[in-house]
Amino acid sequence: MIREFKKIGKIYVFGMLWLLGLIWPMVGIHKDGSLSFGRAFTIWSYIVVGTFACLLLYLLNKSGYLDKATKPMGRVRDDLVAKARAVPVWIWTLVALAAALIYPLFTARYAHDVAIQVLIYISLGLGLNIVVGLAGLLDLGYIAFYGVGAYTYALLSVHYGMSFWLCLPVAAVLASVAGCLIGYPTLRMRGDYLAIVTLGFGEIVRLILNNWMSLTNGPNGILGIKPPGIYVPSFEGGFHFEHIYLKKLYFLYYIALAIAVVTIVAVRRLNFSRIGRAWESIREDETAAELMGVNTFMLKLLAYAMGAVFAGLAGAFFAARMRFVSPESFTFLESAMVLSMVVLGGMGSIPGIILGCAALIVLPEVFREFELYRMLVFGAAMTVMMIFRPAGLIPAKRVGTRSEEKEG
């Protein structure tokens, strides 16, 4: 422990001094020509205390001093996991679904709102998971498809009064067309280049939405989008079907739940299909996949299109739920947020991403007073995750076994 600490301690001290050197000029040099140290030291000491506690715990754990506490807890956890495994997966799925179905009966409006957001982001996150997690193409402009879906419904609803249910598939199709349009020229690129180009495309879409005044009403956005409607049988004045709009939040909750469930099922089926395997092979080694007869070009294009479909569905629902769209909702930060959900949860892992979405939406709501620090924490979490746990909170299970795993 002492030796460990000496080794890490030196790096830690240097790192903290470096941090102080960075923080102080930003907050300690004032306009009136004075210098102050108080605020810089306060911020710095918070960080020092926090990181030191983490470091100490890490070292104690690593050198075995916490075994007395962690070993029994680990056994309890293993027991629980074993018991949970004993129950078939479909029962857990049913329980989760039932819980989701009765959720609005026991909660208030605010909780519905948060839950709807979580469900929208689950659709987005799983859609992005197809592109990033399965096919391994880093897409930083993903939110553009969400925007396409939202604007499709907004425009069709406002100008032509088309119903939500009709627009949902239209939005999905248009988003996937956009996915192909953006995907086609970028698919020759790999890795970092692809990331930057998709980022550029995302910005182009946002700029178009922002500047095409005659179509999108520019930065003012589109108002007066109709919520989804349904026909209910009515017996007043003879039997006929009456059209009502679902303005109540818990109706919208069920629609969001339906979209999220469809997404989950579809992504799961895709993941374990031939196509899903082909995507994974492209992710692992594109050249080898091509040699094995995988049509990499078409499959990568398909990954883009499929990812965009779910973003389009989520986008159409978002427009119907907010009844207002503006380019403000489709900035790069949104893309980064969806991406950090996927990364945090575990790329390629469906339960992981659901957990990631729930965590990144619910936690900021719980810690409302730290609202400002949200993106700061997201950024830091992304870096820290990549360093310590690149596979995410719930790492994806691989399909089949790999040769190197058998040897180990």
Binding site: G33, R190, V197, G200, N211, G379, P390
Partner: protein, 303 residues
């Protein structure tokens, strides 16, 4: 015709700034074959540090007595600050991931970029921060063309920095070590070049140049903002790719071209879509000639 030449001069000014940022991308790429996503943030941090130092000098009253020394000191200190920042960022977000997959490094750098941007927002506020003084008032008028002294200073300073960088990379021992590391890390470490130190140094030099660009943009537009690093960052990346990533001369050329395209696009086609032109060039270059104008053959895995 006057309008054309006027735009040309604006384009050169802007292009010089992009070239300075692009150099950071291209140098880092040359050494570790990765895109430094946080680079735009170094540029923004430079803009902020410039404002803070200038304000301080004005507050102390030094600015009225020794203006040139104060401005010079601000620029140098800012470049130093950003170099310091970049070295730390490299140690946190890149060094532990040397052997990880490219996607992991990319994401950790992206996280760092979001983190830095928000840290700046929290310490400096969400609003535009105005530059306290004008570097040089007045302008030259030749024929119908106006060139402000500020533009002249920016172009001259850019050229000085670019020449300095060229001397550093091609004439000194450190530059030789950098080029050796860029070519082959294993071989250069065998001749006692510490690749970790060279990578740190490369980040520092690139961030210093970006900081200088940040100050100049601050003077040019009169204010800085916490998210100002994002769009110029992508444009400078486009410039680096256009010139051939990893190639220093190419980055300078690419920066100039992107600056010109943006200014002419805004002047002759549409001012609202001025940000789009750089992206379109980026996509076109990557599609038709991924090695860029001056790039050598890049092997298949990089593109």
């Amino acid at each position: 015709m006057d309008y054309f030449i006027q735009q040309l001069i604006n384009g050169i000014t802007l292009g010089g700034v992009y070239a300075l940022i692009a150099l950071g991308y291209t140098m880092v790429y040359g050494v570790i074959q990765l895109i430094n996503f946080a680079h735009g943030e170094f540029f923004a941090a430079g803009g902020y540090m410039g404002v803070i130092l200038l304000n301080w000098f004005i507050g102390r009253g030094y600015m009225s007595t020794h203006p040139m020394i104060c401005i010079g000191a601000s620029v140098v200190l800012t470049m130093g600050y950003c170099a310091f920042l970049a070295m730390g960022v490299e140690k946190i977000a890149y060094k532990p991931l040397r052997s990880a997959s490219r996607l992991a490094v990319l994401l950790s750098a992206l996280g760092m970029s979001i983190f830095l941007q928000n840290a700046m927002m929290l310490t400096q506020g969400v609003f535009d921060k105005p530059y306290p003084i004008e570097l040089a008032e007045g302008s030259l008028t030749v024929g119908g063309i106006t060139v402000s002294y500020l533009q002249v200073i920016i172009v001259v300073f850019t050229v000085v920095l670019l020449v300095g960088l060229n001397l550093l990379v091609f004439k000194t021992r450190i530059g030789m070590a950098m080029r050796a590391t860029a070519q082959d890390k294993v071989m250069s470490s065998l001749v006692a070049i510490s690749s970790n130190r060279i990578i740190s140094l490369t980040f520092a030099v690139g961030a210093g140049l970006a900081a200088a660009a940040g100050i100049m943009v601050g003077f040019y537009y009169g204010s800085v903002r916490y998210d100002m690093g994002f769009v110029p960052g992508i444009k400078a990346f486009a410039a680096a790719v256009l010139g051939g990533i990893g190639n220093i001369t190419g980055a300078m050329l690419g920066g100039l071209i992107i600056g010109m395209v943006e200014v002419f696009g805004a002047g002759y086609i549409s001012g609202q879509y001025k940000d789009v032109f750089a992206f379109i060039i980026l996509i076109a270059v990557l599609y038709f000639k991924p090695t860029g104008i001056m790039g050598e053959n890049v092997d298949d895995t990089r593109v």
